[in-house]
């Protein structure tokens, strides 16, 4: 049990896919200008990683090693299409906002990375937990980025005009245009990595 718990918790901080493995950076820059799409993206990726890990782990002994990548891709694409259809059915506006980035979950390095590194050699339940952990580890960073970028870039949180209600605009405050742009998201990821490593010296390279 404690081993399974560890599978789930290490990707959240100690082995976070974004800040430690530095995977999935592209989508994390692209979808975090606002909190809502960031949350939807985080959930979508979590679902895809967890289910594909589970399915591939079930089939791991029957997949011929030579064609394993294409098999993995078929499973991932099927799941991504399912997720995309669900998003279009229930949260159409967010789905529009995310545009190609839902489809691009197929190419997210975290998904393929976990399949290759973990699901191909572990049992289904463990693989499922690993997938949920990695998806949520990715999600945490997305939510942090989405929160700060929406707050300082648009002055809102989840569409609620926080800065306006606080009366910040009346005293001369202005939204920061740079925070909306992708470069600032990368800088913010860098700052998160900085903070994490100054807290946890084990992560620092020698």
């Amino acid at each position: 049990m404690s081993k399974n718990k560890k599978l789930f918790t290490t990707p959240l901080l100690k082995n976070n896919p974004i800040t430690v493995q530095v995977l999935g950076i592209c989508s994390c820059l692209a979808v975090t200008a606002q909190l809502k799409p960031a949350v939807v993206m985080a959930l979508s990726v979590t679902v895809v990683v967890a289910l594909s890990n589970f399915i591939i782990s079930l089939m791991r002994n029957t997949i011929p090693p030579r064609i394993r990548i294409i098999v993995q891709l078929v499973v991932v694409s099927a799941l991504v299409i399912l997720v995309n259809q669900v998003l279009m059915a229930y949260v159409y506006d967010v789905s529009k906002q995310l545009s190609v980035y839902v489809g691009l979950i197929i190419t997210n390095c975290i998904v393929m990375g976990r399949l290759e590194a973990f699901a191909m050699s572990h049992k289904p339940w463990e693989s499922f937990l690993d997938g949920v952990g990695n998806g949520l580890g990715y999600g945490i960073i997305l939510v942090i980025l989405g929160f700060f970028r929406e707050l300082f870039g648009s002055g809102t949180i989840w569409g609620y005009p926080v800065m306006e209600k606080l009366g910040m605009y009346k005293i001369g405050y202005e939204n920061n245009g740079l925070v909306i742009m992708a470069p600032m998201a990368l800088i913010l990821v860098g700052v998160i990595i900085w903070i994490q490593r100054s807290k946890d010296k084990e992560l620092c390279e020698k």
Partner: protein, 391 residues
């Protein structure tokens, strides 16, 4: 008086040393001590003596070189307001005008400089204390340049934010002065430019309307006029050379900047190769556009580019930054030439940004290490081929 200061410093020194009352303030103390006196420590290992002047002394010289542009800029702030504000009595005596314009500009400029230094040095001292190293003196120059290259109406809190960003993200994360690959002053300007574009471009930011407050009088810079489709800037070449035009606080006057350039070149602090090649690059690119001549901006005589916007200021004070420019002599030529060329390309071809100098320097800052690498490995290859022949 100097002896008194020396004695005082020696007297309070034990308080800040190991075992004293305030050892955690040692870097702060050290910074002020070496600011006043040349340190008596010498390099003991290796032979890296390049010059008898240490970094603090050379930074002071750069500050002195900036003074003509700064003083002229202060006067010009007042002059631009006076030109547009009828309540100023233009007919009153020349000396009165000279003085009141300068005083107005001085009072407008002072808060910008104070905010820049307080925020920047505050962060530098904080990092020095946390990391237990000496306070670097690079910010002495950076902190003065930042208020000199922004519009006079820049809100102070935005400036403070930009300075903090430049010092932390542009410099300290890489290890402080000497380790940064981007010019920190330009990082601050780029931050302002992309964060608060309405305060950094357009024609409503360059002239202060009153002494206090952020209201502005409409007045386009030469670059703004060209961007809007002008055939020639409305200011005469002479005005642009002297600097009596709207623009960022202290980069309008070519003559004041050239005075500073002369001092930098005489003392050997800035590289003449970089300065010359920036001007060459801009000139060649300007001539090339003249030859194409597809629109009014392309037909603008090439020498206008030197006098508009921050071209000269960038060439003299920012491209030559010894930390972020190329280090090899051949590299300096390439680096400078491309800065000048890209600045003119951005001005003429990019419809979104009126001024290209900032982005051109930042871009070439990124490429400076690559240029150096190529120059060095080319040299190695050339010498290796000689060895083969002798075999």
């Amino acid at each position: 008086m100097m002896n008194g200061l020396r004695n005082f410093i020696d007297k309070i020194k034990p308080t800040f040393s190991e075992g004293g009352k305030l050892p955690w303030l040692s870097s702060t103390f050290e910074a002020f001590e070496t600011f006043a006196f040349t340190p008596n420590t010498v390099t003991r290992q290796g032979s890296h003596i390049r010059d008898a002047v240490d970094m603090k002394r050379s930074m002071i010289l750069v500050v002195i070189a900036l003074l003509p542009a700064l003083l002229f800029g202060m006067w010009n702030i007042g002059y631009q307001t006076a030109l547009n504000d009828m309540s100023w009595n233009i007919d009153s005596s020349v000396w009165y005008m000279l003085w009141s314009c300068f005083w107005f500009g001085f009072l407008r400029m002072l808060p910008l400089i104070v905010v820049s230094y307080v925020v920047g040095l505050g962060i530098e001292f904080m990092f020095a204390q946390i990391r237990h190293h000496e306070v670097n003196e690079g910010f002495l120059v950076t902190g003065l340049i930042i208020p000199m290259i922004v519009p006079v109406t820049t809100p102070l809190w935005q400036l403070a934010l930009a300075v903090a960003f430049a010092v932390v993200i542009g410099k300290e994360v890489f290890g402080g002065t000497g380790m940064n690959f981007l010019n920190p002053a330009l990082v601050a300007r780029a931050f302002l430019f992309f964060s608060y574009p309405t305060h950094m471009s357009g024609d409503k930011v360059w002239i202060a309307a009153d002494l206090w407050g952020s209201d502005a009088i409409t007045g386009a810079t030469p670059l703004g006029e060209m961007m809007a489709g002008g055939v020639r800037p409305s200011a005469s070449l002479l005005d642009m050379f002297i600097g009596t035009i709207p623009g960022s606080t202290c980069e309008t006057s070519a003559i004041a900047i050239l005075l500073g350039a002369a001092l930098l070149l005489l003392t050997g602090i800035a590289s003449w190769r970089v300065m010359l090649s920036v001007v060459l690059g801009g000139g060649v690119m300007g001539l090339l556009f003249n030859a194409i001549g597809a629109n009014a901006y392309m037909q603008l005589p090439f020498y206008y580019h030197f006098l508009m916007g921050g071209f000269l200021f960038g060439a003299v004070f920012m491209a030559t930054d010894p930390v972020t420019s190329a280090q090899t002599n051949a590299g300096k030529w390439i680096y400078g030439f491309l800065i000048g060329a890209f600045a003119v390309v951005l001005r003429v071809l990019n419809p979104a940004y009126p001024e290209g100098m900032m982005l051109a320097i930042l871009l070439m800052n990124c490429f400076a290490p690559l240029i150096d690498h190529c120059v060095v490995s080319r040299n190695i290859k050339r010498r290796q081929s000689r060895i083969k022949i002798e075999k």
